[in-house]
């Protein structure tokens, strides 16, 4: 059972992100290369965390499909750094025992030669606390 | 039986006010008949950046129990930058006084605009109460005064 008591403050502390800096320009989601695979998009993470609407994010597919490519972080004109916030939501889930989506031992099987280095690194990042 | 006469302690407070904002704020408090303790005495200076630490120490030396400095809000200084310098000077000076063991509540900086008569009166009232509670300034005064 997921701990749904993760608060906005927890996420801000883990990520160092200040959601109030966002000016809702959507540049993060405009930049996102994996937009279609995400049920919640970078700008929504910022907005929903800001509003304290966190439970849906903890259950979301997006925290696993986010590539951690950091494009949104790079492009954000206000340095809000959505990627870090998504990472924080993911960590909030992963840090609960047994909630990791991917076991370390499963990863080698999934690797293929075309997979970019970054994807492998981010896969490990998503693996466990 | 002799009863020692106990005089109630009324603190002496010196307020340095910049001419353009806080002194005008004090005037506005007056125009609006907003009461604050009579033991607050105002000294007019052109700008908060004119307040030399020597003046503050001098006030304590001569028996002031609290010293407050008021200036324009940062960004609104009549001379554009004066209160920015004053802010750094007072912060470091107050920290030094605290370091020497002088009660930190005896010194204060408050930004009061010409429109903030209410704030001026409230600030002075509050500061006077704080000093009243702290009691007499004994740590930083010229003891010759008592002779």
């Amino acid at each position: 059972m997921l701990n749904t008591k993760i608060s906005k403050e927890d996420l801000e502390r883990i990520s160092g992100v200040n959601t109030r800096k966002c000016m809702k320009c959507g540049k993060c989601s405009a930049t996102c290369p994996n937009f279609d695979a995400m049920d919640y998009h970078p700008h929504q993470f910022i907005d929903m965390v800001d509003k304290g609407n966190i439970a849906p994010l903890l259950e979301s597919k997006a925290i696993w499909t986010c590539l951690s490519c950091m494009a949104c972080l790079q492009r954000c004109p206000r340095s809000v750094e959505p990627a870090k916030l998504i990472e924080a939501v993911r960590l909030a889930v992963v840090r609960q025992q047994g909630e990791n989506r991917l076991a370390a031992e499963d990863i080698p099987e999934l690797l293929d030669e075309d997979l970019p280095q970054q994807a492998i690194v981010s896969a490990f990042r998503k693996y466990k606390k | 039986m002799q009863v020692e006469e106990k005089k109630e302690f009324t603190p002496l407070i010196v307020a340095f006010c910049c001419n353009w904002c806080s002194y005008a704020g004090a005037d506005l408090a007056g125009s609006n008949r907003l009461n604050y303790p009579a033991n607050v005495k105002i000294i007019r200076v052109p700008c908060s950046c004119r307040v030399n630490p020597l003046f503050i120490l001098r006030a304590f030396q001569r028996g002031a129990d609290g010293v407050i400095m008021c200036g324009c809000h940062p960004g609104d200084c009549h001379y554009t930058t004066g209160n920015y310098y004053a802010r750094r000077r007072m912060t470091t000076l107050f920290s030094m006084l605290d370091y020497l063991g002088i009660e930190k509540e005896r010194t204060r900086v408050e930004w009061v605009s010409a429109a903030e008569g209410v704030k001026f009166a409230a600030t002075m009232k509050d500061f006077a109460e704080t000093i009243q509670k702290l009691g007499e300034n004994r740590k930083l005064r010229d003891l010759r005064c008592e002779k």
Binding site: S29, A30, T31, P77 | D27, L34, A59, H78, T81
Partner: protein, 661 residues
């Protein structure tokens, strides 16, 4: 020892009801130096002032203390009074026993006691007062305007209109500035040239206005009323007095591959050129970097075709020094080149342009004759995407932190003009916020949406890539929570505007302060918006912050009013309560100059006699015409050499002592 008179005002019952005025006068009479004390119903009245004047004469007073209302109320009145009786107006101090005493206290005993203490403090101060004389400095009745855009032109014309001479220094060969490059202007859509060029002609032909085009400010000395400015005339290689502006040379020049700055590089000009047809002055200029003769010594075609004999390859830089009473900064802005925003592909794709470039593409006098064509293939675009806030409102190193203010409106204008000229073209605008405060501005924007059918989408563009000659735009539609992919033939970037690069070194020359974005700082954000804190320096137009044309013109005229107010005076009376450096105490350490917001402190080597020794020392010198008397220097000076007249260290300490007695 001073002979001090104390005058306690009743202010009707305002003071007298809560303060025992007679007791105050009586008590203060026994203060040292007080030779006369009285109270009266209204000190500020004619008869009250008479009492003061008589007492001064009768008792040979050297100093006056008035216990009355706030000095902010009647200090000026009483200064005149004492001056009329023959003593220096600065030998007066006011004890504020109304606003800061009678009005706020109810207990009469308490208020009376406080009034006495306030009176004592004023007496203690007067003891240390010294007569002060306001310095007078003459005003040179000529203004300099730096920058010849719409702001500079408007300011100059208004100043000239008041009968004062005014010089405009413009670094380009012609005045006109950015506005000359614009097509139409919002919110009325009248053409920029139609409203600007008459003003340019006015400026050129007005005999009170001198144009120094192709010139730069080289050096500024002096202070308010008395600036001495050296202007550098860059060589045009054309004798401006002979050139008739016929343009023959510009058509014959064989060096043709030089990007035309006026048309944002969309076409080429000759090495000898006149920026545009309505240029003022209409004089040709040779760019030595492009000229074949200047580079190789061969050609000289322009000299041959010039019947006026105006071409002069030997022309040299010249320096002109003139005096001015006031200087107006009107250095304007530039639009940033969004080269660092690689996601928009500005560097790679010709069809991604900035809005100023787009302005030229739409302009009837532009490279395409006003026919909107794609720069890549010269075909008409069918779909245009506008992106707002490019480089504005950001916090990263490539962004400006401020809102560029004009983009929302000109983007709406562009979108509307495109739809007006080419109704079939699909126009989409990506925005973060649409900001349209201004008369008829929001109506204008709504017309673009409602009448012309421009699509406004909330969200930014994340990526622009070209595929088969089509720009693929990837963007957010935040309200639909979707990432959109759309094709476009052109992408127009509303890139941020920034102050002109020449502003920073100019600010240093003028000792005028700037913010971190290099916009000039105004003396007061609300109450003195067209003056720099440095006396005699005025701000016109976008050098102070982003502005549209209506706002620029109103600020330019406001600025002119301030300049005229200054130039109308024959002399400036300086505030005598200024800083003063004691030469025997001064260390020459420069700390005071570091905190002076006005650049009023300079240093000179002076022969000083101190403790029986005569030696040359570096000494701080305060320019009393420039100093405004804030006192920042007096506190930063460790040796106490710097003091403030009228608010001297000893005066303030005497007040402290009197209060704490």
């Amino acid at each position: 020892m001073q002979r001090i008179g104390v005058f306690v005002c009743w202010c009707g019952t305002n003071i007298a009801a809560t303060v025992d005025v007679a007791k105050v006068a009586e008590t203060l009479k026994s203060e040292p130096g007080v030779v006369f004390a009285t109270d009266y119903q209204y000190m500020c009245s004619a008869s009250g002032q008479e009492i003061i004047k008589n007492a001064i004469k009768e008792h040979n007073l050297t100093g006056v203390v008035i216990c009355s209302c706030s000095p902010r109320m009647h200090e000026a009145t009483f200064r005149k009074t004492v001056q009329a009786a023959g003593i220096n107006p600065y030998m007066l101090e006011i004890a504020n026993i109304r606003e800061q005493c009678s009005w706020i206290h109810k207990d009469k005993e308490e208020a009376t006691e406080k009034a006495i203490i306030l009176g004592r403090a004023a007496i203690a101060k007067v003891h240390l007062n010294a007569p002060l004389t306001s310095m007078e400095s003459p005003v040179v009745k000529r203004a300099l305007v730096i920058g010849g855009g719409i702001a500079g032109i408007q300011t100059a014309l208004d100043i000239a209109d008041a009968g004062f001479e005014v010089d405009i220094v413009e670094k380009q060969p012609t005045i006109g500035g950015k506005m000359a490059q614009l097509d139409k202007t919002f919110p009325t859509l009248d053409c920029a040239a139609c409203i600007l060029t008459p003003k340019m002609v006015d400026a050129g032909s007005n005999d009170k206005v001198n144009l120094y085009t192709y010139c730069e400010v080289d050096k500024v000395e002096g202070f308010v009323g008395n600036f001495k400015v050296t202007i550098k005339q860059k060589p045009r290689y054309v004798d401006a007095t002979k050139c008739t502006g016929c343009g023959e040379c510009t058509t014959k020049c064989p060096s043709r591959k030089n990007p035309n700055e006026f048309n944002m590089g969309f076409d080429n000009r000759g090495a000898v050129y006149i920026p545009f047809a309505q240029a003022v002055p209409k004089v040709a200029t040779i760019d030595p970097d492009d000229c074949i003769y200047m580079k190789t010594g061969k050609c000289g075609l322009c000299a041959k075709v010039c019947t006026a004999g105006a071409i002069n390859y030997e022309q040299k830089e010249e320096f002109i020094t003139k005096e001015y009473g006031a200087i107006v900064v009107a250095t304007g802005y530039n639009q940033i080149k969004p080269t660092e925003f690689e996601e928009y592909g500005y560097n790679n794709y010709k069809d991604v342009v900035t809005s100023l470039e787009f302005e030229r593409l739409m302009n009837a006098a532009g490279p395409t004759g006003g026919h909107l064509l794609r720069p890549s293939n010269g075909k008409e675009p069918k779909k245009i995407v506008f992106v707002q806030c490019v480089g504005s409102r950001g916090q990263s190193c490539r962004d400006k932190s401020y809102c560029s203010k004009i983009c929302c409106m000109y983007t709406a204008k562009h979108a509307m003009l495109v739809k007006d000229h080419y109704p079939d073209v699909d126009v989409t605008v990506f925005y973060i916020d649409v900001r349209t405060p201004g008369k008829n501005f929001d109506e204008f924007y709504r017309r673009a949406v409602e009448e012309f059918g421009v699509h406004y989408i909330k969200g930014m563009v994340g990526k622009v890539e070209e595929e088969d000659g089509v720009l693929k735009v990837q963007a957010s539609d935040l309200l639909a929570n979707a990432q959109i992919h759309m094709d476009a033939d052109m992408v127009v970037l509303a890139a941020a505007i920034e102050p002109d690069k020449s502003a920073r070194p100019l600010a240093t020359m003028l000792t005028a302060s700037m913010d971190t974005n290099d916009f000039f700082t105004e003396a007061h954000a609300k109450l003195r918006p067209v003056e720099s804190p440095t006396a005699g320096i005025f701000l016109s137009g976008t050098c102070q912050g982003p502005k549209d044309i209506p706002e620029t013109v109103s600020q330019a005229s406001a600025c002119a009013a301030k300049v005229i107010g200054l130039l109308a005076k024959d002399h400036l009376l300086c505030n005598p309560c200024v800083a003063h450096s004691n030469e025997t105490l001064c260390n020459g350490c420069s700390t005071c100059a570091n905190v002076c917001p006005y650049g009023a402190i300079t240093y000179e080597d002076r022969l000083v006699m101190d403790k029986g020794v005569r030696e040359t020392r570096r000494i701080a010198v305060v320019n009393e015409a420039v100093c405004q008397g804030c006192g920042a220097c007096t506190v930063t000076c460790p040796s106490g050499a710097m003091d403030l007249k009228g608010f001297a260290n000893r005066q303030i300490m005497a007040e402290v002592d009197a209060i704490c007695r």
